[in-house]
């Protein structure tokens, strides 16, 4: 609404008044949009700010009834505590996570790239069934898969082995990866390939020189998406790896917490260390990631 003052100063003719009304309306609309966006953004990032704030705060001020949004006494002692405490075993579990995450991701991405290409470019008998299976397998509780996977891994003597966890990760990551990759391949025009093949290139050459370079950003973001999922996975790692020296980061942080009276400073410092790699990767690929997810599932 206009204030009377505004009206008396600026508005003389009716058409001018309409114009101004529209502008004020537009401005208030923009204001509402920003206001709501800021509220949602605060909701979204406040917990992240809280992790950081607590991790750089001294114990004295963490246990302070008066809450401050920034550390009152900036300190690195929480990080020193986590990195030096032998019970945290942070270096070891970091390497474990890195190993399990990379191997299972490389394997999954390699085989699903082939399958995603086939789903995108060929018609073949069983394609519909295959696609539906990949979507509906999401319905199966991971506890059910984990129970029989656990029995299978015991028989193969792969419980308490990183290879057992790698097998489990491969099985849970495949369906989504195939869908995303199919989406990326779908977004590359078929004509490019056909043109190359008309010009005398074999299909393999066409793939190698034209399709792969174009699909590479997509493949890279599937790679990072899967790596993030494996890096963050909890239930399987908790169940399959029961020896301390094999544990991955998400299990180790819970384990570290269980040793003592809960000290939130070191735990939040640990959280920062676990979260940082995945978050950086995420910021790197977020744009591609989203495109792949949506095209894969809706086309």
């Amino acid at each position: 609404m206009q204030s009377p003052a505004v009206r008396s100063i600026f508005v003389t003719r009716p058409e001018q008044r309409l114009h101004l009304q529209r502008r004020v309306l537009g401005m208030s609309r923009t204001f509402v949009i920003y206001f709501l966006l800021v509220l949602i953004t605060i909701f979204s990032i406040f917990p992240l700010i809280w992790i950081l704030k607590t991790s750089f705060e001294t114990t004295q001020f963490i246990r302070n009834p008066q809450i401050q949004l920034v550390p009152l006494q900036f300190t690195l002692e929480n990080f020193q505590e986590v990195l030096s405490n032998p019970r945290a075993m942070i270096g070891r579990s970091f390497l474990n996570s890195l190993f399990v995450g990379s191997v299972s991701t490389v394997f999954s991405v390699f085989i699903t790239t082939l399958a995603g290409y086939a789903l995108s470019r060929f018609r073949f008998r069983g394609k519909g069934f295959f696609s539906v299976y990949l979507l509906l397998i999401n319905m199966v509780p991971s506890t059910l898969i984990l129970i029989s996977m656990f029995i299978l891994l015991i028989k193969l003597r792969l419980v308490n082995s990183h290879w057992g966890l790698i097998i489990y990760y491969t099985s849970i990551g495949l369906p989504l990866a195939v869908w995303m990759l199919k989406g990326y391949f779908d977004s590359i025009p078929l004509e490019l390939e056909e043109q190359a093949m008309l010009d005398g290139a074999s299909r393999l050459e066409a793939i190698q020189h034209i399709i792969l370079p174009l699909a590479l950003p997509g493949i890279a973001s599937v790679f990072l998406f899967l790596f993030m999922a494996h890096w963050n996975e909890f239930m399987g790692a908790l169940t399959i790896l029961q020896k301390q020296e094999l544990r991955t980061l998400p299990v180790q942080i819970i384990n570290f917490m269980g040793f003592q009276r809960i000290e939130w400073g070191p735990i939040m410092a640990f959280s920062v260390i676990v979260t940082l790699p995945a978050t950086l990767l995420f910021l790197l690929v977020q744009r591609n990631l989203v495109g792949g997810l949506t095209t894969g599932y809706t086309k």
């Binding site: 789903l119 509780p141 059910l144 898969i145 963050n232």
Partner: protein
Amino acid sequence: MDPWYRLRKQSTPYLLILPTVVALVLFSVYPFLSGIAYSLTDIKFVGGSANWIGLEHFEYILTGTAGTAAYFLRAFRQTILWTVCVIGGQLILGYLTALLLNEKIAGRGLFRTLIILPWAVPSVVVGLTWQWMYDPFFGVINYYLKAFGLIQDYQSWVGQPNSTIWPIVVVAIWRGLPFMALMLLSGLQSIPQELYEAAKVDGANLLQRFRHVTLPQMRTITVVVVMLTTMWWWNSFDLQRVMSPVGSLGYNSMTLPILAWFEAFQWKHLGRGAAISVISLLVMMVVMIGNARREMKSVQE
């Protein structure tokens, strides 16, 4: 044409999907089917004998009154409540966020990045962080709720046997908002701009344009996203596990995946844990197939 050439050409797609199919059969189809089979046996712990007992577990879980069976019904109700509220909350907030991010305003790239950041945080860290924020003595949530006069005294929100599921529902909505909002946003962006122009020419106001242009155009993607996230959150485990009382059983906010996991791995009763998962799967299947049917019908009409 050379028959060999033709055979080779026809077999290409199969060769390409072969590795994935082999991996799926070994590590997804086989565990799935054998999981169902184990739910019909009395296998307790690995290496123990697995004797066929038919539907005994199912009978025990559905009609029993002691032990796990006593918690099943409550866990089942909690799972329904949990899924409906989490998906409902994510959908409402996700739509709002997507609509806002779809506006052409300065700085929306920054807002978008900040809003989807929670996606990258490991779920264990999410659980721990919110547990710390809900802390009954020094928690920031208690502090602000009291400061704004919304509560009289500090409360312990989570981690007690009688804690309700609502505080964890809030966490799950927070956790799932990025995915929901982004999927809906990409749906909004694929709506042809001409449709809005035409509606404007016809004199439709903002609300009418939303009702008659946006919603029908968004139908497919909304259904797909809701189905997918329903399956995920129905089976979610990490948040509830981290934010619940350690090692205690039968607490108020327990859901089916937690019950199944505890039964199988904590109380060493794999067969019965599998049976709980199978029941949970069957319920989900009925819901999903019913939904898919209705969608098919409405598309045909």
